[in-house]
Each structure stands twice: as structure tokens, then as C-alpha cells.
Symmetry: C3
Subunit: 413 residues, 3 copies
């Protein structure tokens, strides 16, 4: 077919072009090598998440800033507590997370706000269908508690999470997560900050299901349990149940059982529905505490409970982002840049905690209304405005109303 | 023109070379794709500043180490305070800064030295001509205070900055910066470390101009104001004005008004001239404090003032680097590597603070001479040597001379 | 040779192929430029170590998590101390290290465990054959102390290191390291946490040699000295020598001289042999303390000593990794991934500390047996199990046996 071209010519042509190929191949390969040498991938998640090309290693710095201003009237006439007019670094965290060789994840974070505390400090083995977690992390209880402070709808979580002392504890746990259901259980000592020769034991477990889970619709159901035994009560003191006025962080506590519990059992039920930009969420929790005989209490197995219901709507069309039994980062449709409005969310919550059994001085019930407005400038930044009012029933603060306004500027990376 | 080459041959040639082109093109494109995939840019600023290619995201870890040795004679015969002979971690900071989506910057840093404290913790919206800052940062007062501790000429700032309590406070501010002039104002609560139900309010503002600003010449002029009101004085205590002997960090305080102020007004004037490797800088500040009637003071509106003048010269030819109303990092001409000498700077300062009104025990005046020698090994490392002497006039320490030597090794990233 | 191809044809061929070359060359060069623009190299060392292409700058974030569970019987009948049953964050560190311009290295790290402390905080000039170090780092004493807590064989170091107060101190030092021998010396003030007007002076030095050093064989020998003088004893208090029961971190101290020393001299000898996966290590230390006349002690120059011998064997064939006078990270042959077993190490130690001179209440001797099992999942993760027993001789706790089990999960980056 090559006809008029002689053998020599064909060889020459092939040769010259081979050289061309080779030369450019070498050049290209060199360029290729260069970028091959750089064993690096990057995903921007606020800060960059770096990983090696084979995924054996990952690393990301993480952090968050939340700065607040709170103004509140604590009903001085009844409670004797003054007005609040204060700024606060609510959270200022820095930490790191990563993977060291395929199956071993770690996370370490410190909160520099207030007196400072280690938050997450654990390693997780992910090489089995069920993850194994060793270290300090949140006991598996409550949708509200497990949702990161970066992603909760109001400035502070519902009363039950603080009143019943949901927190990170140091222990060993298992976690199984599928898109539509999750199960987790663990056995724990205390939080890192609570040091004692005998720490006692905490056991906690949670199961959740999302029977409906589509792009714009979620139905979430869950139940959890936590049982704590305080070891030698002389070491750690007794458990105390209490909550701050109007669910703010800087107000005082007007319902407070005092230190009474040497062990307790907590049961919780949770549910949430997301319908596009609209969502509803609620939880009920009941705790029974064992009170030692030498404490002056009208019952030695008091039962406390509380619940909340919250609803929110994104005016700008975004939706709360459900991910394996928790709420995750909201993706802003049109961030504030080149005319984007950001995401605007309005929300309301009714929140009640009943600590009235036992007849102590501040044994009472607190009912709180909250209205919230959130402006997400982008996926990592939001401004929050909360207007809250609590009404106290029972105890020495009976009839008190705590009312206030809170503002937050938040960024995370 | 192609004459003797037949159509087939021409087609063949085109075909073969097309294959060559294609093949190499594919290879090259692949290499190109690879580096395109890595959405990453890097600038080395001590530590790397990473950014996404579109600049929507940036991230940099930041930190500094300053280790000091101080030897000082505190004039025991008069003051009763012993000699100083001590090492110190003067600053040990770690933090992060970045951009999350174009217009939102953040900065968070913690100083682990001493008892530890959060330094900067803010987010800044840069999408408007005027920046909006929310969080904790330095109130806009004083060239000396606003210049980073990494770039000040002497180991410690001039007396006025500490005596009049210039510091970071948590608030909201505006900042406008042009090459030749700047304006900033903010409204603040207290520093994060000062917690109180009622924090009062601080207002601060500053304007600066650089009427002359060329490559090797700068004239800087500025004025600032700060007004503080201590809210409920029972919450935070009263303001105290005082300064350490010889402007060292480890000496004791020999001029000290005690806690007296429930509000105060501070005015400041500042100027600086850079002429190549030579520079002069000076400031004057005056503060009037309101003292409650129940404090035993000879006047209830005492006025304090202070000023300093400093001069420095880079023997090796570098210059102080002026940037929008502050001094920034010195660029070393020939760093210490392969025979480079680094940058050598000599400097002197006269520094006075007059806290003598009011007739309190340590109400007095402190005048200080400082001589400094700085050796910048490179842009991020320097060794400092300071020889300082203070003379006290008035109060119980009248006539005391505090004399000492300080040394610092500093690195930042 | 080109015969049958006409000149025009040859020119055409050359031209077309030149275009091909050029085109692909340009493309390739462009790809090359792109990766050239990114002035970045990366090495994965848990977290990525970034560097500029010319090596002038390096940067790496570093950190470690060690979470422990300890259960111990403290022989209540004799010592009066209760059982231990507790979790703990033993170490939770975050820091940074890097190079700023070729010859200046730095390292800064903070340990958030317990009350928190700055660990390393120094800069190092490496442009001379002998390194110059300024800042806080470990005084050059003891193979066991100088080996990172990430790489020691047992959960806690041998008794001599704590009893004789080996720690980081802030100072200036020289270090010379060759593959087969090292020498280091420094002059120090106190640890950053110990603040005092007069810190006194510490001098320390160490030499080591590795006369045999092959791929699978190491013989290490070393000697060190440390002399401390406590400056003004009123400032810092006196030196105290003591050790916790069974070398655990959460047990109480049953041998304890109380605060007695105003100065002391410490001599140490060390040796280690690695024979493939088997290794032996031992040290002897002797300390003489000067006790002030006004302290009720039977001798005012008591001499204390202690020693340990440990042996370990990697069942899975790994070896302890010797590097310039210290032990370094173990390289796991087959990490836990796709069926790898990780590295399994068994170890034993005998450990004794004799603080019996002086006739104080708890002046006594503690002898401890330890058995350890370590499972390295990969180079950066390990689980540890220790079974320890101490026997006390002398003092008020004479005859007491402290026995316990410790477990640790460790990850570093």
C-alpha cells in the first residue's frame, strides 16, 4: 500500500518520527514524573485535606472560632442574679485528623475557650465492617449532642444534653454505620478532665434508622441508653443535674439538683424529619439517679426528664444535611461572593427540663422558647442571632423569667 | 510545492506524524491533567501558605518561639527586690490563618507561654471596601503596639503600651487600608481572659497617613483614641496602671497606681521616619482615669502620660519594612548561608512613663534608656541583645536604678 | 544515504516533524512549568513533611495521642493507698517543626495532657559541623530518657529517669552527631514551668559510641553527667527524688526523699545491644545531693543510685531502629492491612531505684519487674500491654507490693 515511498524512506520517516515521539515522550514523561514524584492529593474542606496518592496517608488541620455576645435579664427580683452584658470566645479549637496507613484514623482537638479542654482524642481502626474506637469521644447518645457545634441550629444545644451531662468520655467503642442505619456502643471511664483513682464505669449505646432517605427527604428515628456508676464516690464526687437560664452559656443556673447521684440510667428517644428546606427535630430523655441514703432528699431514686422540639426553614432553599445518624455541614447554594445572598435560615425551639423531684432548693422545671436566625455566608462561616426566654417553675426561683439575646460569629476550617 | 511526494505518501506522513502528535499530546496532556488535578498553590512564608488555584481557599499554620535570658539588678537597697537571673519562654505560639471562600478570612493563635492565652481569634469579611472584623484582636492604638512582637526593634515594647493596658479585646470593628493611609475603629468587650457578667464597653479608633512613601523613604503620622468603661466595677475590678523595671518582662513593677480606674480616656500621637537603613520612631500618650470617690487619692481624675523615641540603623543596609500603618518583616539582603552575614541592626530608645499623680505608694515616674543589637540570620530568625536602665522618681522607690541585660533567640513560621 | 527522497520531501518531513516536536514540546513544557511553579516536595511521615524544592524551607505538623487504662493494687494494708482503676490521656501533643532558610531548624510542641506543658521549644543552627541549640529541650542524659516516648519499649521509662528528674530545660547547647558516635553538652536554666527570679544553673553533657553498627547489629555505649545548682533555694524549692509504684503513671509514690537537695551531681552509664529482632538495654545512674544543714537528715551528702536491664524480641522479625545515640521508629515489615500481622514485640525489664539514705519517712528502695507486649499495627500505631510489680524495701512502706496492669493505644503523626 505504501507504494511510491522507498524502503529507506519509510525507515527514515519511521526513524525521524520515532525520535520525535521519543523526544516528546521523554519530555512528557519527565513532566509526568515530576507530578508523579509529588505524592500528594488535596481536597479543600475549609483547610486542605492532604493525602498520599494511594490513600495510605491523610492529614488535615482542623479548627473553629465562635465568638459570642450575650445580653440577658436574669429576673434579679426573684433570682438575685444580675443582668448579663458580655462577650465570649465560646469555642476556639485547633486540632488535627488523619489516616496513618489505610485503616487507622485519628483525631485530636483542643478547645482553648474558658479553662481549655481536650475534646476528641482517639484513634479508630476502620479495617473491619465495625469500626473500633479507642480514646476520648462523645458517648453515643442524642442526635442533638452528636451533631457538631458547627452544625447545630441554635447557639446552644437543648437543655437535656447539658442537664444530663452528655459529654466526651475516654473509653473503647464499636461503631457500625450504613447510609440508612447506625449502631454504636462503648464502655468508658470519665472525661479526661475528671481524674480519680477509681473512675467507675459508663456504658452507652445508640441505634438509629432512616427509613426514608432521598435527596430532599429524610426521616430519622433513634434510641439510646447510658448507664453510669461513679466508682468510689469520694474520688469524683456525685453527679449533679442542672441547666443554665434560657439555654444561654453565660447565664446562671436556676434549676439545679446539687450533687446527688452515685449512679444513673438515661434513656433517650429521638426523631427528625427533613422535607427539603424545612425540618423538624425532637428528643425525649428520662434519667433515674441513685441518691445515697445520707443525702436529705424526698426520694432516693428521683426521675428527671426533658424534651424539645425544634423546626427550621431555609428561606434560600438549602436543606439540613443528614449523614449516618447525625446532621452535617449545610451546603450553601449561592455563597456571599459576587452577589450571592448566602443561606438564610429561621428556626424555633421549645425546650423543657424537669428537675423538680427531690425537694431541693433549686429543684424545679425550666421551660424555654427560642427563636433563631442564621446567616451562612458560605459553607464554613455563619452569623447567628438567638432570642430566648425561660420560665422557671418550682424551687426558690419559682416564677422567674430569664430573657435575652445572643449573637455569634462562627468560622471553621 | 510538495512536488515529488505522492498523495499517499503525504497522507502517510501526515498520519504517522499525527499519531506522533497525538501520542505525545496525550502523554503531555495526561501530565498536564495530573498537575491540573492538584488544586494547589504554595507560597513559602516560613511555613507554606497553601491556596486553591482560584484563590477561594487559603490556609497557613503560623507560630513563633521566643526564648529569653534576663539578668538584672533591681536595686535591692531601695526596692527590696532581688536580682533576676532567669530563662523564659517569652512567647510560644501556634495557630492557623486562612480564607474560606474568597471574602472570609480568619486567624486563630494561642500563646502557650506563661499561663497561656488566646491572642488573635477573629474572622474578617473583606468583600467590601471597608473590612469588617468580628472577634478578638488588638484595639487600633499605637504603632508600637500594633507592630507584631516578631518585628519590634527591642525585646519589649515601650512603657506606654503596657502601662496603659493596650491589648487584644473581643469586639466588632471596621478597617480601611490604603497604601498611604489607614483608618480603623471598633467597639469591644474585654479580653477573652477577663470574664464578667457585665463587661462594660471599649471604643477605639485610629487614623494614620504616610505622606511620603517611596522605596527607601517613609514618613508615618498617626493618632488614636481609646475610651473604656468598666461596666459594673464589682465584676472586673478597677483599671490599674503600672510598668516593669527597665522595660524587661521578668523584673518587678516599681511604678504602679494600684487598682483605681472605673473608666478612662486615652489619646495617642505617633510618628516614624524611615530613611533607607536608618529609622526614627516616637509616640506620646496621655490617659485620664476616673477614680471612684471611696478610693484615697489626691485627685479623682488623674492624668498620666508617657512617650518614647527610638532610632535604629541596619549596618548591613536593610530597611524597616512599612506596610499600611504598621512595621512588617525585615527582608534580609544576604541571609546566613553560604557566607552571608545576615542583617545587623543597632538601636537605642529613650522611654518614659509618668504615673506620679494621686499620691499613692508607688505613684512615680520611670525613665528608661535601652540599647539594642539585633542579628537577623534570615527573614524568620533573629538574635537580640538589649541593655536597659531605668531610673525611678517619686513614690517609695524614688531614686532606684534598675539595670540589666536581656537576650532573645526568636524564630517564626 | 537518503537517496530516493527528494530534497523538498526531506525538508517537508523535517518541517512537519519539527512542528510535531515543537507542538508536543510546548505542551510538555507547559505541563512541566505547571509542576515547576508548585515549589513543593512532600514526604509522608505520618503527617506530610512539606519542603520547597531547594530545601530552603521545610514544614511539618506533629502530634501524638496516648490513651491509657491502668488497674493496680497499691497494697492498701501497708501503704494506705487505694486501688487504681482509671483511664488517662497520657500524652496528647500537637506541634510543628521545620526549617526556615537552609540552616535554621525549629521545633515547638505542647502536651495537652494533665495540666499541660510546653515540651520542645527550640531553634537549632545546623550550618556548622557542631549544631547550636537555643531553647527548651532534653538535657543530654540517658538513652532511655532521650528515646522518644513514642519509641520506648514499655509504657513508662525506667525509674532512674523520673527519680533523678531528667527533663527538658531551657538553655543553650552544642550537639555533634556522626553515625557511630555523638557528643552533646549544654548549659541550662530550669524547665519553662519552673519560674523563679534566680534559676541557678544546670550543666549537662553526654558522649556515646556505636563501635559495632551494621544493618542488623548494634552495640551502643554511652556516659553522661548533669550538675544542677538550685540558685536561691527560696525561689524554686529544693530538689526531691521519688518514684511511682510499679513504674505506672497513676500510682502513688512509695519511695520519696522529700524536698532536700540544693544542688546535685548525676553520673550515668548506658549500653545497648541489638542483634536482629533481639535487643538488650541497660543503664546505671548515681546521684549525690547536697542537703542544707537545717534539714533533719542522717547524712548531708546522700548518694542514691538505680539501674535497669531490659530485653525485647520482635516475634515478627522487626528490629529496634538505632539512630545516632537514640532509638528511633520501628519499621513494621507487614503492617495490618490486607492480611498483614503488624509487628509483635515481647519484652521484660528489671528496674531498681535506691533512695534509702538519709533516714526519711519514705527513704527506701523500689525494685520492679515489668513484662510487656507491644503490637505495632503500622509504623505510627501501637497497642501496649504491661504487667508490672514493685517491691518496696525500707521506710514506712517496707514490704509493700504494688501490682498492676496497664494498657495503651498510641498513634503519632
Amino acid at each position: 500500500m505504501i507504494g511510491g515511498l522507498g524502503k529507506m524512506n519509510r525507515m527514515l520517516l519511521a526513524g525521524v518520527c520515532a525520535v520525535a515521539l521519543l523526544a516528546t515522550g521523554v519530555t512528557a514523561a519527565k513532566a509526568g514524573d515530576d507530578s508523579e514524584d509529588l505524592d500528594l492529593k488535596v481536597k479543600w474542606k475549609g483547610a486542605p485535606e492532604f493525602s498520599s496518592k494511594d490513600g495510605a496517608f491523610k492529614f488535615k488541620v482542623r479548627g473553629r472560632i465562635m465568638v459570642d455576645y450575650t445580653s440577658a435579664d436574669q429576673d434579679f427580683a426573684i433570682t438575685g442574679e444580675p443582668d448579663i452584658n458580655a462577650t465570649e470566645l465560646r469555642r476556639g479549637r485547633l486540632g488535627a485528623e488523619g489516616v496513618v496507613y489505610h485503616d487507622v484514623k485519628y483525631k485530636f482537638e483542643y478547645d482553648f475557650a474558658g479553662d481549655g479542654e481536650v475534646t476528641d482524642a482517639y484513634l479508630e481502626y476502620t479495617g473491619l465492617p465495625v469500626s473500633i474506637i479507642l480514646g476520648q469521644y462523645k458517648t453515643p447518645n442524642s442526635l442533638e449532642e452528636l451533631t457538631s457545634s458547627r452544625f447545630i441550629t441554635f447557639m446552644e444545644r437543648a437543655a437535656i444534653t447539658d442537664a444530663f451531662d452528655l459529654e466526651r468520655q475516654l473509653g473503647a467503642g464499636l461503631s457500625y454505620k450504613k447510609e440508612q442505619w447506625t449502631a454504636a456502643a462503648g464502655i468508658f471511664g470519665t472525661n479526661i478532665d475528671d481524674e480519680a483513682p477509681d473512675e467507675g464505669t459508663t456504658f452507652a449505646a445508640r441505634v438509629t434508622a432512616a427509613p426514608i432517605l432521598t435527596d430532599r427527604k429524610v426521616v430519622h428515628l433513634g434510641a439510646s441508653y447510658r448507664g453510669r456508676d461513679n466508682g468510689d464516690p469520694e474520688d469524683l464526687g456525685l453527679y449533679e443535674y442542672r441547666q443554665r437560664g434560657a439555654d444561654f452559656h453565660l447565664t446562671d443556673r436556676f434549676v439545679d439538683t446539687g450533687e446527688i447521684g452515685e449512679s444513673d440510667d438515661l434513656f433517650g428517644l429521638e426523631g427528625a424529619v427533613v422535607l427539603g428546606s424545612f425540618s423538624v427535630q425532637g428528643e425525649y430523655m428520662q434519667l433515674t439517679s441513685e441518691v445515697p441514703a445520707d443525702i436529705d432528699f424526698t426520694t432516693h431514686s428521683p426521675t428527671y426528664d426533658g424534651w424539645y422540639v425544634s423546626a427550621s426553614w431555609f428561606i434560600t432553599g438549602e436543606m439540613r444535611n443528614y449523614d449516618e445518624g447525625e446532621f452535617d455541614r449545610v451546603k450553601v447554594n449561592r455563597p456571599v461572593f459576587e452577589g450571592g445572598p448566602g443561606a438564610w435560615q429561621i428556626a424555633g425551639r421549645y425546650d423543657t427540663i424537669d428537675l423538680s423531684e427531690g425537694g431541693c432548693e433549686e429543684c424545679g422545671e425550666q421551660n424555654t422558647w427560642l427563636i433563631g436566625l442564621n446567616w451562612h455566608l458560605n459553607d464554613y462561616t455563619r452569623l447567628m442571632l438567638n432570642v430566648n426566654q425561660s420560665h422557671i417553675e418550682g424551687g426558690v426561683n419559682d416564677g422567674a423569667d430569664i430573657t435575652g439575646v445572643g449573637m455569634r460569629a462562627q468560622v471553621d476550617w
